[in-house]
């Protein structure tokens, strides 16, 4: 075991894993986190705490992780390279590990022009691949990029994100291979709506044996409405939502109900794709639906591994 986290145990034991996302609040109030932690307890193996996603200022990922850990659920902290140089990234990694965080997702980060502090200076000392490589060297050898060798390096399970639907498509599997070479243990994908395209990507992933080298958790987003489907199709760069999905949402009598049904069907399908070792449910501002989705997708109860 690299970190001994629950997520690591589930994935390494060969069980189909479930992770979900909790968006920290845009305030100093811990209550929404506690509320979600209580509601979601037991329905996923670990929960991602986003790191100022879309560059909107929120309660920090590490603080959020500690708050949900008090409720007895396991966090995956997201760490982007947008706001911190290597000094701050390493320091926060030490701090998070010291507080008991065992799973870390390495991300480059959304550009600040998407957020609510557009005039800020960004950092990008690293990108996600460099971040993975540095964190992996640190946990294996205690070695910092500047050469310093430290005692008691952080024991963490490292993850990454990958988007099979961003251009150039033909490079996307190679980019995953780079992340594996950099030390990733698991990969949560961008939300999948185009199953054919995802399966093509997975064919190539398997052809290169990459599914044997780390665990892929396929991303899903339950949609509340046809409007949400259209928004993701047209406005979110690097996301592909096929027309038949937009049409299906549009023609549904109860769009929310249809969104849940669609998400459950997608998970059922993803469970059958060889090389997919879990799902990552991103119910943005709709966290209360996660227990139901997990239940209906036949993924409840979650395994307990000692």
């Amino acid at each position: 075991m690299k970190a001994g986290s629950n997520l690591e145990k589930v994935l390494e034991s060969g069980k189909f894993a479930v992770t979900a996302e909790i968006g920290p609040p845009q305030s100093a109030n811990p209550e929404p986190l506690t509320h979600h932690a209580k509601m979601l307890k037991g329905c996923a193996d670990a929960f991602n705490l986003t790191d100022n996603q879309t560059a909107v200022v929120r309660l920090s990922s590490i603080a959020s992780a500690v708050i949900i850990m008090r409720e007895g659920i396991e966090p995956v902290i997201q760490m982007t390279c947008r706001d911190r140089n290597r000094i701050a990234l390493l320091s926060d990694l030490f701090g998070a590990a010291a507080l008991g965080v065992r799973n870390v997702l390495c991300l480059t980060g959304d550009h600040q022009t998407f957020g609510n502090e557009k005039g800020c200076k960004n950092v990008f000392d690293f990108d996600s691949i460099v971040e993975l490589q540095v964190f992996d060297n640190l946990r294996r050898e205690g070695k910092q990029p500047g050469g310093e060798v430290i005692k008691d390096p952080p024991k963490v399970y490292l993850g990454c994100a990958e988007n099979p639907f961003a251009t150039p498509y033909e490079f996307r599997v190679s980019r995953l291979a780079k992340k594996i070479a950099a030390g990733t243990d698991f990969c949560q994908t961008q939300a999948i709506f185009d199953m054919d395209m995802f399966e093509k990507w997975m064919d190539e992933v398997r052809a290169r044996g990459l599914d044997q080298k780390m665990h892929i958790l396929a991303g899903v987003i339950p949609m509340k409405s046809a409007g949400a489907a259209r928004y993701m199709k047209n406005k979110v760069p690097g996301m592909i939502v096929p027309n038949h999905i937009v049409d299906r949402m549009k023609s549904a009598k109860d769009q929310k109900e249809e969104g849940i049904k669609l998400c459950v069907e997608q998970i059922e399908h993803l469970k059958t794709v060889k090389g997919v070792h879990g799902v990552h449910i991103m119910a943005v501002a709709w966290e209360e639906m996660v227990p139901r989705i997990v239940q209906e997708a036949g993924l409840f109860p979650r395994p307990t591994i000692d």
């Binding site: 980060g109 550009h111 690293f126 691949i129 460099v130 190679s174 690097g238």
Partner: protein, 234 residues
């Protein structure tokens, strides 16, 4: 070249408002080529300021002139009388020119008439795009001749990020994704093995992050004796 843009007329007028005698100095180098601060632009600005004053019933004296290269002391020295004979100098060069005048005549006020922007390339008439940020450690031989530090919004060394759609940058859909361009170029050159390799953490100490940079060519420096022989010693 260095690409700059003139500040809005209102902002310039406001900066100069409390000074009677104003010398506006352009530059025949980069800023003339990018149509921001050459002879023509100086003339246009001076007449615009005069018209504005006439409308508002204000009285100021403006004189416009241009030097060959405002970032070099020798050229600035040639117009020293005009500079010191005025209450204020408005530099229509890049910030380097404005600072050269400021450093040569520290008691005299020199204000910037331009906003200095980018190390850029003219793509077509009237369009300049950034292609270098002067990081001090060029790697474009490994990226198909395309600089990811300046051309990727996140300066990624291992791009493209997940927001690249239709080979465009998520930050500005008008701009090509630098890493999609790098991929295409390397493919064309049959060198895709380069993009499969991880580029490790960059040492930014050669960039501005390492502090203000001064480049010295010992072999090109003048000896004390040689310096005495030069006319312009500051």
């Amino acid at each position: 070249m260095i690409v700059a843009k003139r500040k809005p007329l209102g902002e310039i007028a406001e900066m100069l408002a409390s000074y009677k005698k104003v010398t506006v100095i352009g530059c025949r180098s980069c800023v003339a080529i990018c149509l921001a601060g050459g002879e023509k632009e100086v003339k246009m600005l001076v007449s615009a300021l005069k018209i504005r004053n006439r409308k508002e019933g204000k009285r100021q004296d403006f004189e416009g002139l241009v030097v060959e290269r405002q970032c070099e002391k020798e050229w600035v020295k040639e117009v020293e009388d005009k500079i010191l004979g005025s209450d204020i100098t408005l530099s229509m060069a890049c910030s380097l020119g404005a600072q050269t005048i400021g450093d040569m005549y520290p008691k005299h006020l020199t204000f910037p008439g331009l906003n200095t922007g980018i190390f850029g390339v003219p793509e077509e008439q009237g369009v300049w795009s950034e292609k270098c940020v002067g990081c001090g450690d060029c790697i474009i031989h490994t990226t198909g001749g395309i600089c990811p530090i300046s051309r990727c919004a996140k300066s990624m060394l291992n791009g493209p990020c997940g927001g690249s759609a239709d080979r465009k940058c998520e930050v500005n859909l008008e701009v090509e994704c630098a890493w999609a361009a790098i991929y295409d170029r390397l493919k064309l050159q049959n060198r895709l093995d380069l993009i499969e390799r991880i580029t490790p953490a960059k040492d930014w100490s050669t960039s501005h992050s390492g502090g203000r940079r001064v480049f010295v060519r010992e072999d090109a420096k003048l000896t004390q004796h040689q310096k005495k022989g030069k006319e312009v010693v500051l």
